[in-house]
């Protein structure tokens, strides 16, 4: 499927390119826009992986919810002086070393399992009705984690309200 490959490489390059731009831009709003672009590209990858429900969740929750919150806060705290400040600290060597180590680790893992037929072939027995399958999984096998996640959200909500309130 050539179309599939084109889609994957397009979204992958878009994601990586935007991610690099996000980390390097001075202007924080531009950073946020590039992160949004990365997230949308990831959503595209999900679609290409036939995870339709996750694709929509990614768009509605991540891009339409979390990132709106980010942009909102950025605009509230966006100081003009911030643009003139130094945007990077002096940890770039630490970061470079860590990046190299991480990369090496993953490539080592891939090298160890090279030639394993399990890696290259992939299951084609994905459930056709993705949304229903996820619903079944959440509400049957993962009921407890789901409830815990909802408690987590409640805690986060209360915490955010307390934190963002004016000084009492």
């Amino acid at each position: 499927m050539i179309l599939n490959q084109i889609l994957f490489y397009f979204f992958a390059l878009l994601a990586i390119g935007s991610a690099i731009l996000m980390v390097t831009r001075r202007n924080i709003v531009h950073s946020a826009v590039f992160l949004i672009s990365t997230l949308l590209a990831t959503a595209g990858i999900f679609l290409q992986l036939q995870a339709e429900f996750l694709f929509v969740v990614q768009i509605i929750l991540y891009v339409g919810g979390i990132m709106v919150l980010f942009v909102f806060v950025i605009m509230l705290v966006n100081l003009d002086v911030a643009l003139r400040q130094i945007q990077f600290n002096r940890q770039k060597y630490v970061a470079a070393v860590l990046a190299v180590v991480l990369t090496a680790q993953v490539f080592f893992a891939l090298w160890v399992v090279r030639g394993d037929p399990n890696l290259t072939k992939s299951a084609d027995k994905m459930p056709v009705r993705n949304t229903e399958a996820i619903g079944d999984a959440i509400f049957q096998h993962y009921m407890l984690p789901f409830e815990i996640a909802s408690v987590l959200l409640l805690v986060a909500m209360i915490g955010a309200v307390v934190m963002a309130k004016r000084r009492v």
Partner: protein, 377 residues
């Protein structure tokens, strides 16, 4: 809107400090060239200051270099949406100075026209006030009825806005044929029209939510600040110069002075709506029997009032409109001082806006019913 409003924000939006927000003098809802400087804490108004004078034309100074008759058209340009009332105040003040009075017929016609003008002024207020709060439709209904009134004015004296309808000593023009019918027709239609506005607004939840409890001023504060007119009556003070010190022909007619207890924007709205009904009632009574007789009393072509001073005030649509005229015995007044109702009422703005939200400021400016031509003179 290229000449748009300017904002100065001294600190960051989220800083704990206050923000200074500058509304106007070019702003869609300051009703002219009023500039309001708001000190905000978030969206809450901590303090405010009205900066006026952008429309100052020195009307009072001009009066000192014009004869008494020559100055009469100038007063129309102060409260230009209620020119007839301004003219009435000035003419009666000069008549008082001269020691004459207008003939009975002139008085009645003056009363009718002034009451029509009050309706027109309140209609304009209602339309723009509703528009500020976001109701798009009432303004067109209001202008439809205001148009009828302006047509009567036009037929009577040829002008619609700055009418210069009266002359010192009475009237310049006899009423035109069909004047009575026109006024009667308007009054008959108008009864239902007021109900129509009320169905749109009075019980509308959003309207009530936007106006109830907004811009409260207590009776004591209102009196201390010298506030008059519907703003005072909305705070529960039953004070109307038409009853308290009757002028023109008001002592002959029956009407009520509507008041409301709390003094918020909603109460002032109700008071003005009721005043329109009362004005209609006065018009209907007056039009029934206009006495016959001359329309212009005996005043000379050259007016030379005896030296002295006089203060005469009338109940203009916006409140007490007073003229203080000092004569030195020549043909020109020595000094004319105008007590414009909106200028004095505007002083209540600071009190009303205290603790309000930014969105309420618009409603409060609207509810005071100011005309900058009158504030700045």
């Amino acid at each position: 809107m290229t000449n748009g409003p300017t904002t100065e924000i001294t600190t960051t939006v989220l800083g704990a400090d206050e923000i200074i927000l500058n509304m106007g003098p070019q702003h869609p809802s300051t009703h002219g060239v009023l500039r309001v400087k708001l000190k905000l804490d978030g969206e809450r108004v901590v303090d405010s200051e009205c900066i006026i004078g952008y429309l100052h034309r020195g009307v009072e100074k001009i009066a000192e270099h014009r004869s008494y008759q020559q100055f009469a058209p100038y007063v129309d340009r102060m409260d230009y949406v209620a020119a007839v009332s301004n003219g009435l105040g000035y003419c009666e003040a000069v008549e008082k100075l001269l020691g004459t009075e207008a003939p009975p017929r002139a008085k009645v016609v003056r009363t009718i026209l002034t009451e029509l003008q009050r309706i027109a002024s309140h209609l304009l207020w209602l339309g723009t006030h509703a528009l500020d709060i976001g109701a798009l439709t009432p303004v067109f209904y209001c202008f439809r009825e205001r148009e009828e009134i302006l047509k009567i004015f036009e037929k009577y004296c040829g002008a619609r806005l700055t009418t210069h309808a009266f002359r010192i000593g009475g009237l310049q023009y006899e009423t035109y044929d069909g004047f009575e019918e026109d006024v009667k027709r308007f009054c008959n239609d108008f009864e239902h029209r007021v109900d129509e506005y009320e169905t749109l607004l009075t019980e509308n939840r959003i309207w009530v939510g936007r106006t109830k409890g907004v811009g409260i001023i207590t009776a004591a504060d209102a009196i201390a600040l010298g506030v008059t007119g519907p703003v005072l009556r909305g705070s529960g003070v039953k004070w109307d110069l038409r009853k308290a010190m009757p002028y023109a022909a008001y002592d002959q007619y029956e009407f009520d002075i509507p008041t409301r207890p709390t003094g918020d924007t909603y109460d002032r709205y109700i008071v003005r709506m009721e005043e329109m009904r009362q004005s209609r009632r006065i018009c209907l009574q007056a039009i029934e029997n206009i006495p016959s007789g001359p329309i212009l009393g005996k005043v000379g072509k050259v007016l030379k009032p005896p030296p002295g001073e006089v203060y005469h005030s009338i109940e203009a649509p916006k409140g007490e409109l007073g003229y203080y005229i000092v004569s030195d015995g020549t043909t020109q007044p020595y000094r004319v001082r105008v007590r414009p109702p909106s200028f004095i009422n505007l002083q209540a703005f600071r009190k009303m806006a205290e603790g309000a939200l930014v969105a309420d400021v618009v409603a409060i400016i609207g509810t005071i019913d100011i005309v900058l031509g009158e504030v700045d003179r």
